[in-house]
Amino acid sequence: MTAETADGREGPGATPRDSTALLQTKGLTRHFRIGGMFSRSYLHAVDDFDISIGERQIIALAGESGSGKSTVARLLAKLYQPTSGEIYFQGKPLSAVRSRRDVLRYRGEVPMVFQDPFASFNPVFRVSHGVQRCLKLHRGELSAQQRQEEAERVFEAVGLTPAGDVLQRFPHELSGGQRQRVGFAQALALRPKLILADEPVSMLDVSIRIGLLNVMAQLRDEQGVSILYITHDLASARYVADRLIIMYAGRVAEQGPTEEVLASPRHPYTQLLLSAVPDPRAPLGVGAETDRGEPPKVIDPAPGCRFRWRCPLAIDECQRVTPELSPLAPDHEAACHVARSGAEVKAF
């Protein structure tokens, strides 16, 4: 694996490099050893993952469970160390961020918002406690008065008003939607550049999901924050995200501007995902009905496309060669041999 990622894959197949990118990954790879103590089997959770996140951008990372999306978030949050590859934040490699002070600063600039708003708050403290602690730890220069003002400012920014009142509540007094807003407010208090949001709305009721998606768009537009929005819901990704990355079995299957990817999906997997989204306003498609497959557990894989077992278009090359991401339209890439050959891809 390492040999494959070491060369950085520059050239026609490489991701367009944006020198002004806020965060970039190059050949980011994470393997987990599985099985017993002497096992030499490795689960390839993330392989050769190249993405680039700009300023003031919402990037949606979509895929089925087990596709590696949460592992990506944890790698970016420095909770996991990459097996190989590198993450560049504002042009600097993350492997050089080592000292406690630097790590703390990085975590303040790239905070995380978690999926479950019912499990991520300490029930015995008022919600102001969490924000205050963030502020004390990351912005020690503020006085108590300034901390209170800052806490109120971020609560108002996410629509928790009156902020002074909400700050004094306990988590159980807030609804799921409000708690998730508190999560974003805490992240915002750190003056972040990029918020890693791992399925932030999937536990919320449908009637309040939209409100939170609107908060995310507002944070981008008014506070200039970028957000990595991890989701399995393509419709919500379309609603809020500027760019869309489709992940399958640890690799990027397709990426590009959201509207473009969804309007003309080039990877068979993207087409399958799209056909499975229930849409009461559209007639029933037939694609997903015939599909019985599941994402493979990628343990010590041989080369080849990881989608080939489910792909109706798979050709001989797909069995032998791992497809690289290749540009198919400006800023739109897919990792598919059939799409790269210029053939029309209509799998589902």
Binding site: E64, S65, S175, G176, G177, Q178, D205, V206, S207, I208, R209, I210, G211, L213, N214, H232, D233, L234, A235, S236, R238, Y239, E259, L262, L272, L273, L274, S275, A276, V277, P278, D279, P280, R281, A282, L284, A288, E289, T290, D291, R292, E294
Partner: protein
């Protein structure tokens, strides 16, 4: 407690007909379920009535805490204290299920009525193979012939698209989708007339979810059992259910043919729910969702329970409780559609 008339049921028998509507496989009448606790009583299901015809697919949608699962458990007689049925009847194939003993219920369960739970992981026994669990259910209902058990088990597993070789597999060896499919296979072992499903697909991915839905629908049409399907995701059932019930804060807010509900929703809550889903293909428009959150069932607002969040609220809504009104074959609990009274201000 409210003025909600209990007799407004689509295709229902006249009020007071305890046996339920003729021909229906299940008739729920004025069913109320309360959680009786020291701190007070919470009415989770408030006088819900409906009929299920043989072979019909009924979907019940609502947000968490609206009482949809409690209603299902009330129908299946699976409630445990502090939940209790305080009123109403559940007539299944002519017999009232409310008040039956466990022993009497045992003869009905699996055979005539089966339940598929949300989490197959927890519903299957982790230390028994799938086949052994299937055999258990059949033996409990008097099927003792080993060959017959093996044949039928393989048959139902094939029906849901799983290789019968997995009869000897343990639940942890199957994927989430396969576990949920084998739960459905198990529910079909003894050819029940009614299968009750509580969010069977919510733990699955979109692709698996979609293929499971198509499979349930196909089996239902082929074998002719009726389905009550509870979900929080309205768009999921849009192409599969015959009738759709929208619940809010323990009550039926709207109930009618699925297509009609999607094409011309009547209740402001239903309209709000429809507009809360971003579309994957249609025009991209800013959405607002529904402001506020569902009421605490222990502290319900007076009048209409949706009034505090309703964009079309009238003075009357805050004072009186609306009944269920008939509008073109749909039932809707909203004063906007009260033809008998004055239409608000």
């Amino acid at each position: 407690m409210s003025s909600a008339p209990g007799n407004d049921v689509i295709g229902a028998a006249p009020p007071g007909d305890a046996a339920g509507a003729a021909g229906a496989v299940l008739s729920v009448r004025d069913l109320s379920v309360e959680y009786i606790m020291e701190a007070g009583t919470v009415e989770a299901v408030d006088k819900v009535s409906f009929d299920v015809d043989p072979g019909e697919f009924i979907a019940i949608v609502g947000e968490s805490g609206c009482g949809k699962s409690t209603l299902l458990f009330g129908i299946a007689q699976l409630l445990v204290p502090p939940a209790e049925i305080t009123q109403g009847s559940v007539i299944f194939k002519g017999h009232n299920m409310v008040g039956l003993t466990d022993k009497q219920l045992a003869s009905v369960r699996w055979k005539d009525l089966s339940v598929v739970m949300q989490s197959a992981m927890n519903a299957l026994n982790p230390v028994k193979s799938i086949g052994a669990q299937f055999a258990d259910a059949m033996q409990a209902h008097g099927v003792t012939d080993k060959a017959q058990i093996a044949d039928r088990s393989a048959e139902v597993l094939k029906m849901v698209g799983i290789d019968p070789i997995h009869l000897s597999s343990y639940p942890h060896q199957l994927s989430g989708g396969m576990r949920q499919r084998s739960m459905i296979a198990m529910a079909l072992l003894l050819t029940p007339d009614l299968v009750i499903m509580d969010e069977p697909t919510s733990a699955l991915d979109v692709v698996a979810q979609r293929s499971l839905m198509a499979q349930i629908k196909e089996l239902q049409e082929r074998l002719g059992f009726a389905v009550i399907f509870v979900t929080h995701d309205m768009s999921l059932v849009s192409h599969f259910s015959d009738r759709l019930m929208v619940m809010y804060a323990g009550r039926v807010d709207e109930f009618g043919p699925t297509r009609q509900l999607f094409d011309s929703p009547l209740h402001p809550y239903t309209i709000g729910l429809m507009e809360a889903f971003p579309s994957i293909r249609g025009p991209k428009v800013p959405l607002t969702g529904i402001p506020g959150s569902p009421p605490d069932l222990a502290r319900l607002p007076p009048g209409c329970r949706f009034a505090p969040r309703c964009p079309q609220v009238m003075t009357r809504c805050r004072e009186e409780s609306p009944g269920l009104y008939h509008v073109n074959g749909t039932l809707v609990r909203c004063f906007l559609h009260d033809q008998r009274g004055e239409v608000g201000e």
